[in-house]
């Protein structure tokens, strides 16, 4: 019987083997092909405590801290451990009700799960903090966690610095592998965002072993996996707190923007946008209260107009129009236009503010007097340049020039979301005028005086001034000059701010001519009333028509005339004539930067300008309607009378509308064109050569002199 069944031992072995193979199979799938268990085990047992490093500080050019860190406390809770909490006592301390308590608890669980610490009440006030520390033993699972928050000792440069805020789901998805977690804070705008990686530093992680009841048993693996927190690195900017504060002061109660650049480095000295806000309003527990009203404000105080505001440059564009014509050899500095107060070559007459004969007898005079007719003519000559066969080719060449001046493209400043504004594309005009064959310089005539579809940001205008000041190059505008402990990667990032941008091949002599013209603006021209004590400077005023109401007041300038150290652009929205509002602001900013102080007279002027209210009526009405009258300034100033008087500089109506010129006028244009281009170009270039040769000689002498000085 036994022998008969002896093969069954084998079968039993097979059965046993089969079961073992199944078990081994499951073990392979669990232990080799599945990572989730390792993660689950770590989630169970390893408690990661994040050590937040201090964020880097941002300094101005004199090493004054634009912002600092201070300590604030959050009340955090681990929901799983919050058992037996004296809810009533806690609610009383926090002044919330039971429903709010449950609501917040659920929020914490949803955000951070039951086993991780989540913020129950952020940014405790000192009184709350004291009360809670005394009573904490009654609230198991709750603890106080330290957090560093930003404070702004100078209450300034909110737009530039930006703010930090708690990261949201979108942010976490975008920065998936950068180690951010729910509840972390990160730079959301401005330099805080741009240099987040530098400022943030490196968070440290301490790992603890935790048992099944959530009790900490000690360091995990003796702390060998712990990482130390590395403090964020500081930013050293080219900003100047004094100039920045002055700019903000001058722009208060106005809508507008001012940008001050050091043309020698491209470093931004000040960048103000008005209306602004006090950066201290967006830190700590202030933030929750203010952010909403700031975001809904119709005057958009959070919007940085200096890099996003798109303004028609108006007459401030004229120097650039002249540069193009000179470089193309279309005009010489002595080119004159007989303006009688109207430009009629394109049908509907365009007004010019001057009527007297000879106010545009040469380039310098035309610039100083800001003659519209002159620059409209110059623009048309550039578009109808016979070198480029047709108006479209001419326009493309002209656009190339304008782009090379940094208009109509992003400059690459170290702030997020810079706007490139607009130098219109040919496609846009094709759409308006149909076939490019029929293009005509009269179509977009007012581009020549910075109107039509041309827009620029204040930053671009300031940069264009730096370009003229430097006679043909600029450094990409930037705030950060250097970082603390710069490494190779940082150097690579900052390299673009340290390389000369030679975007145009226009010779220095041509720039010198323009500079002279812009200097004349300040001597006897439109800006003659604005002085910078102790310095000769160059400037151009602008009064730009816009579809939003009264003209924008613009002013661009650089100083000193020789060896420029500062370039400025100021825009005041709907304020009127450039020389009245933007001009004095620009002048004061230059004075402050160059002289470090203001004269008594300038100080009175500052106070006057700071108190002038140029807010458009529509915005004031909005404030009244929305019960925010506290935003209205106590000093009411009626600028209507003044504004009307000075709206004369550019009075052409419907300038954006295309108008087809009549045949006769077309002929007249052609003939005048021939006249102007008949100036022998060889002659022109010869003089230029002579001039430049003289200049080089001068330079040589200078260098020799300095050498001698050094030797002695």
């Amino acid at each position: 019987m036994a022998l008969y069944n002896s093969n069954r031992g084998g079968i039993i072995q097979i059965i046993i083997g089969f079961v073992f193979v199944i078990i081994i199979g499951q073990l392979i799938s669990l232990q080799i092909f599945s990572n989730k268990y390792k993660l689950a085990a770590d989630n169970n047992a390893i408690f990661r405590k994040i050590i937040y490093p201090d964020r880097g500080i941002i300094y101005d050019r004199k090493r004054r801290a634009l912002l600092e860190n201070s300590i604030s406390y959050d009340l955090v809770v681990i929901p799983n451990e919050a058992k037996g909490v004296d809810t009533i006592a806690l609610c009383n301390i926090l002044r919330i009700d039971k429903d709010e308590f449950t609501k917040r608890m659920i929020e914490v669980i949803v955000k951070n799960s039951r086993v991780k610490a989540g913020i129950f009440e952020p940014f405790l006030s000192p009184e709350l903090y004291a009360q809670l520390t005394e009573n904490l033993y009654r609230f198991p699972g709750f603890s106080l966690s330290e957090r560093s928050i930003r404070t702004y000792p100078y209450n300034t440069a909110a737009h530039v610095l930006g703010y930090v805020a708690e990261v949201d789901v979108n942010f976490l998805q975008k920065h998936e592998d950068e180690g951010y977690e729910m509840g972390d804070y990160a730079g959301m705008t401005g330099l805080e965002k741009q240099y987040e990686n530098v400022l943030m530093g490196q968070r440290g992680v301490k790992r603890f072993l935790r048992d099944n009841k959530g009790k900490i048993q000690g360091a995990f693996e003796k702390g060998q996996f712990d990482t130390l927190a590395v403090a964020g690195r500081n930013l050293y900017t080219s900003m100047d707190v004094d100039v920045q504060q002055l700019a903000e002061k001058l722009l208060q109660h106005k809508i507008g923007s001012a940008v001050v650049i050091n043309p020698k480095t491209g470093g931004v000295i000040a960048m103000a946008s008005s209306p602004g806000y006090n950066p201290n309003l967006l830190t700590g527990n202030q933030r929750r209260r203010t952010i909403g009203s700031l975001l809904t404000d119709t005057a958009r105080p959070i919007y940085n107009r200096a890099i996003k505001g798109q303004y028609p440059p108006g007459s401030t564009f004229k120097p650039m129009g002249a540069l193009i014509a000179l470089d193309e050899g279309l005009i010489s500095p002595s080119f004159g236009y007989n303006c009688f107060g109207l430009y009629t070559s394109c049908g509907d007459p365009r007004k010019c503010e001057h009527h007297n004969a000879g106010h545009a007898a040469n380039l310098q005079l035309a610039l100083a007097n800001s003659c519209n007719s002159y620059f409209l003519q110059v623009f048309r000559m550039a578009i109808d340049n016979p070198k480029y066969h047709n108006a479209k080719q001419g326009y493309l060449k002209w656009k190339e020039y304008v782009n090379s001046f940094g208009l109509g493209r992003k400059l690459g400043i170290d702030l997020p979301s810079e706007n490139k504004a607009s130098i219109p594309d040919t496609a846009q005009y094709n759409k308006d005028f149909g076939n490019p064959k029929y293009w005509n310089s009269c179509y977009m005539l007012t581009l020549g005086i910075g109107q039509d579809r041309m827009t620029a940001t204040p930053l671009q205008l300031a940069n264009a001034m730096a370009l003229i000041a430097n006679e043909g190059f600029y450094y990409t505008p930037h705030f950060v000059d250097s970082l603390e402990d710069e490494d190779e990667d940082d150097k690579a990032i900052l390299a673009k701010f340290r390389t000369k941008q030679e975007v145009t091949k226009i010779s220095g002599d041509i720039f010198k001519i323009i500079k002279e013209g812009m200097h004349d603006v300040t001597v006897y021209g439109t800006a003659a009333g604005i002085k910078v004590p102790g310095h000769e400077y160059c400037a151009k005023t602008g009064t730009a028509q816009n579809p939003h109401g009264k003209n924008h007041s613009l002013f661009v300038c650089f100083a000193p005339k020789d060896n420029p150290k500062v370039a400025v652009a100021v825009v005041v929205e709907n304020a009127g004539f450039g020389a009245t509002w933007a001009g004095p602001i620009g002048g004061l900013l230059m004075e402050k930067y160059l002289n470090d102080t203001l004269t008594a007279e300038s100080k009175t002027k500052t106070e006057y300008l700071a108190n002038v209210d140029l807010m458009p009526q529509s915005i004031k009405d909005w404030y009244v309607r929305n019960n925010k009258s506290e935003r209205l300034t106590p000093i009411e100033y009626n600028n209507d009378e003044l504004g009307d008087v000075w709206d004369m500089e550019m009075v052409s109506e419907n300038n954006a509308k295309p108008q087809k010129p009549k045949d006769t006028i077309q002929k007249a244009v052609d003939s005048s064109f021939k006249k102007t281009s008949s100036i022998p170009p060889t002659n022109n270039s010869n003089t230029v050569k002579k001039d430049s040769a003289a200049l080089i000689n001068k330079k040589k002498k200078k260098t020799i002199n300095t050498k001698n000085v050094q030797h002695t």
Binding site: A2, I12, I16, L27, Q31, I32, A41
Partner: protein
């Protein structure tokens, strides 16, 4: 027949491999318990001497078991045949006694308290006694194990302690008695029974996985296809059509009545819940008659699969190489409940990874195959049946215990032989192994 020349020298004829494996496994067990109990803040050498920790207790148990083993090896092998019937009787009496004297441990009343704070679980010991009496019954000259009558008697011998165990709420221990099927199969149990048992298991699982109505339809279709495709054969043999219909009726009955009955009336609520949760379903405890009658049972409260989840995390987190000795976070954090008894395999899996678990299973497999080899070299039916019983009991424990820790089997309270903490369990397996060694040493004899 009773010629025993080697009686004085107990080491002669004993299988050295099994002894080495036995001690290796006990050592691994103590190591695993040590890993579970280890606390870096407490000096382990002190607590070892104090005997307060599980691992130190297990060491004392092991030493005690060593003496028991030596004692067994010194006994006359005829004692086992002689005492088989009596011991079985005593075992059954002890099990019945638990209903009177029983002490409630972990919800089952299967322990008898004895002096010195130790508790005895008669059901554990009954495994040995059942193995002995089964061997004795089958090896009797008058038993013809090809006959159904013998099968039924053997089945009754096994079923008695199993039923008692179920009554003690020890489902795991009851299931162990099915391990004797190996021995019975080896001795001539027709394979049809195994096939029927397997079919039944498949049917139960299918009932759980599929909707009963859907399953009934599928079965009906299968039966119909069978009948149609075999029409010619049925014309010749009328009975075969009846067989097909009969099988169909039995299957249908199983689905409709037997399976629900088992889950609602035989299993406790928590057991049904565990089985349902294995396949990702929820069991409605209100249907369960047993838990309704024995209300207030603690098991009913914890229906979640927390144990298995944590156990799988522990084993899975070991990965290929393991987290290292004493470095398992699941073990250190005490995340796995019952880790030093039923879930001891997890500490091994976490610390030593797949390398550890695979070699450990290899060791067990070698151990089982070694005993099968020993079984096959016996001249005596008694020894062989006993040996196969030992194989069956060990295999069943190992397979069920490890399967439940890795989520292949519902959680039933079955220890891992020689590894799990616990004196009763260690003693039982020690006795099982050493009786086998004693019998094997006398393999030239034919015992009855």
């Amino acid at each position: 027949m009773s010629n025993t020349p080697n009686q004085n020298n107990f080491s002669k004829g004993t299988d050295l491999a099994v002894i080495i494996l036995y001690f290796a496994m006990v050592a691994i067990g103590i190591l695993c318990i040590f890993m579970v109990e280890f606390n870096p803040n407490i000096n382990w050498s002190n607590s070892l001497i104090a005997g307060k920790n599980s691992y130190s207790k297990q060491i004392y148990f092991a030493i005690f078991c060593g003496f028991v083993g030596i004692f067994i090896l010194l006994m006359d092998s005829k004692v086992f045949t002689a005492l088989a019937n009596i011991s079985y009787g005593v075992g059954i009496v002890l099990m019945l006694a638990t209903f009177v004297l029983g002490k409630n441990i972990n919800g089952s009343k299967s322990w008898i308290p004895i002096a010195g704070g130790f508790n005895l679980q008669p059901a554990e010991l009954c495994k040995i006694f059942t193995a002995l009496i089964l061997a004795k019954f089958i090896s009797k000259p008058e038993t013809d194990f090809t006959k159904i009558k013998s099968h039924l008697i053997a089945g009754g011998i096994i079923a008695l302690p199993a039923i008692l165990s179920i009554m003690q709420h020890e489902m795991g221990l009851a299931l162990v008695y099915s391990a004797f099927l190996f021995a019975m199969y080896r001795e001539g149990l027709p394979p049809v029974i195994l096939i029927v048992a397997l079919s039944f298991a498949v049917l139960v699982i299918a009932t759980l996985l599929l909707e009963p109505t859907l399953l009934a339809i599928i079965l009906t279709i299968i039966a119909a296809v069978f009948i149609i495709s075999m029409v010619k054969r049925f014309k010749r043999n009328r009975n075969s059509i009846l067989i097909v219909i009969g099988i169909w009726a039995i299957c249908f009955g199983t689905i409709r009545y037997v399976v629900p009955y088992i889950f609602n009336n035989v299993f406790e609520c928590y057991q049904s819940t565990r089985i349902y949760s294995m396949i990702g379903k929820e069991y409605d405890c209100s249907q369960n008659k047993k838990s309704a009658s024995a209300s207030g049972k603690q098991h009913g409260k914890k229906p979640d699969d927390y144990n298995v989840k944590q156990s799988k995390i522990a084993i899975g987190s070991g990965g290929f190489w393991g987290r290292g000795f004493l470095k398992g976070t699941q073990t250190r954090g005490k995340y796995v409940p019952e880790q030093n008894t039923d879930f001891i395999f997890t500490s091994l899996g976490e610390a030593f990874g797949f390398i550890g678990t695979a070699s450990f299973l290899g060791l067990y497999l070698f151990f089982l195959f070694r005993i099968i080899r020993i079984a096959e070299r016996q001249r005596s039916t008694f020894s062989r049946v006993y040996a196969y019983s030992v194989v069956g009991i060990f295999f069943f424990h190992i397979a069920v215990n490890i399967s439940m820790t890795i989520g292949l089997f519902p959680v039933v309270g079955i220890p891992l032989p020689l590894i799990s903490y616990g004196g009763s369990s260690l003693l039982t397996f020690t006795v099982l192994v050493f009786i086998l060694l004693r019998l094997d040493a006398d393999r030239q004899m034919v015992l009855r």
